[in-house]
Amino acid sequence: MWDYTDKVKEHFMNPRNVGDIADADAVGEVGSLACGDALKLFIKLDEKKERIVDAKFQTFGCGSAIASSSALTEMVKGKTLDEALQITNQEIAEYLGGLPEEKMHCSVMGQEALEVAIAKYRGGPVPTHDHGHEHEQEGEIVCKCFGLTDGFLKKVIAQNRLHTAEQVTHFTKAGGACGGCIPKIRELIAEVLGEQQKLEPKRPERLTNLRKMQLIQEVLENEVRPQLWADGGDLELIDIAGNNVQIAFRKACAGCASSGYTARFVEQKLRELVADDITVEEVQG
């Protein structure tokens, strides 16, 4: 059984704002019967068309999908459309005291429905019944089973700092059916991680030994290991002697034919982000 928080339970046992709004200003629909969950969100604005005065939902889905929808409708009330657009899926999950990682896609569905509703309101007439996926993000379809684009997946990967294909499945469902797109998802993760690194240059000018050792550890933790995890591998820092960093490979990396190549990748990362003269040595340990 899922370890749902009391707040999640309370929201699926007594969901707020179930139903529809006949004269809704904005309606957003995501998901489908075939996908196993779907959410139709109704939003009513005040007379000046600035603030959300009412929100209702209809959801087909599991307990956490109902709870996420209920939370979303409570959260948007009183907000302007721009404020509502700032709501992230993490905030929906936090409102509920957290969701099991396998259920995070329920919170993403809530955020998506909100974006679709507002985009449609701003873009033209309110759409009627349409049970297909409504991702507004441009791009190519990556996951054919659930109809998810690379733009949408990259956004969720970046916002939630996802490191593995499995996490992407938990957050978006992508790759959860036939699994054919999992290699592509791994590429997207690497792409997003690469972009984040460019945005956050970390290389300092002058280094004490102490600071260097800290930095090496930080880079291994934040930049290197997550990429190894994505392929089921891992490494452990064994020792640092001057500029010589000794590591041991773990899990899939241990005994992997390409571990020499991986060691060079680690060295390259450390040279890029810590110091030019770092060498990486693979040791048993």
Binding site: M13, L33, L39, T59
Partner: protein
Amino acid sequence: MKEIYLDNNATTRVDDAVFEEMRPYFCELYGNPSSMHYFGGQVQKKVDEARQRVAALIGAHPEEIIFTACGTESDNAAIRSALEVFPNKRHVITTRVEHPAVLTLCRGLSKHGYRVTELNVDGEGRLDIDELRSAIDENTAIVSVMYANNETGVIFPIEEIGSIVKEKGALFHTDAVQAVGKIPLNMAESTIDMLSLSGHKLHAPKGIGILYVRKGIPFRPLLVGGHQEKSRRAGTENTASIIALGKACEIAGDHLVDENTRVKAMRDRLERELLRLIPAARINGGQAERLPNTLSIAFEFVEGELILLYLSELGICASSGSACTSGSLEPSHVLRAMGVPFTCAHGSIRFSLSRFTTDEEIDTVIRELPQIIRRGREMSPFGREILQQS
């Protein structure tokens, strides 16, 4: 809140008499049956008695019974043994609706040079026997087909399958974990070569199972390193659980008629009343021959996990073929293989009864479930016209 336990295909409560039977073998009669002294010897006698009791339930000889740790181990042992016995035969046949213990093993074999055929089922969960006839050949080492499906309760024509398998000289294994104790089995007049059984599905504890291996059928052990079970399964015997399983099999034999009359009548009433009270519901495998205790019912436009959570709040324990309860995202492989329409594949619930189920418990489900389904549908954006009918 007293639980209403209708998830007996997942596991069962240990019968009080079974627990009493095993209780002395922890702190008092804890000897090792292999020991030379009297203290171990008295346990050996009880293990022998248990072997006879298990054999009696399925019409086998005691020496054809190998005690294992679970149904999964038995399945793995049977299939791996057949592949070792016939090193030159590189083909395995199973079904798309098999338990993961068999299916995952077979799919793994297909990555190691074996050809694996997964037989299809029709919309009612019935096997296509002609597909078996055309798939099997002299290169087939083993055919593994479950006796009855755990999700739908659909029973396969095991003897018909067995006679086809025998014609081609392959071994025939059946995972009978769900069938034993619910329908009569008789190995004395059967085409089955190997059969898996699990204790915790018939009111014995978890962690004990058997593999039946017909006399004369060559066998290679999965676990080696000890002479136990005539060197067919090494490892010190789980004596207390073996003794418990023996008792559970004896009691199961006494209750076979009850399973097929009183328990079946409760299942049939539950099925009839739910179909009468809830629109847009269908029975998975309803036209096929089924186990007397199992009801798999699909509801359109409402998701299975939500139904289970609402039932659970009332103390009613059932399970679903829904993806959301398992962490995977697709409906169960069984319902998909049956081609259950996508409008209701996500909303399937399995009730599985036992001899401990009461009429009052069934009454409670009949009273509560229609409201739960209605509530779920009221929240759903789909199928709103159905609400007007109910």
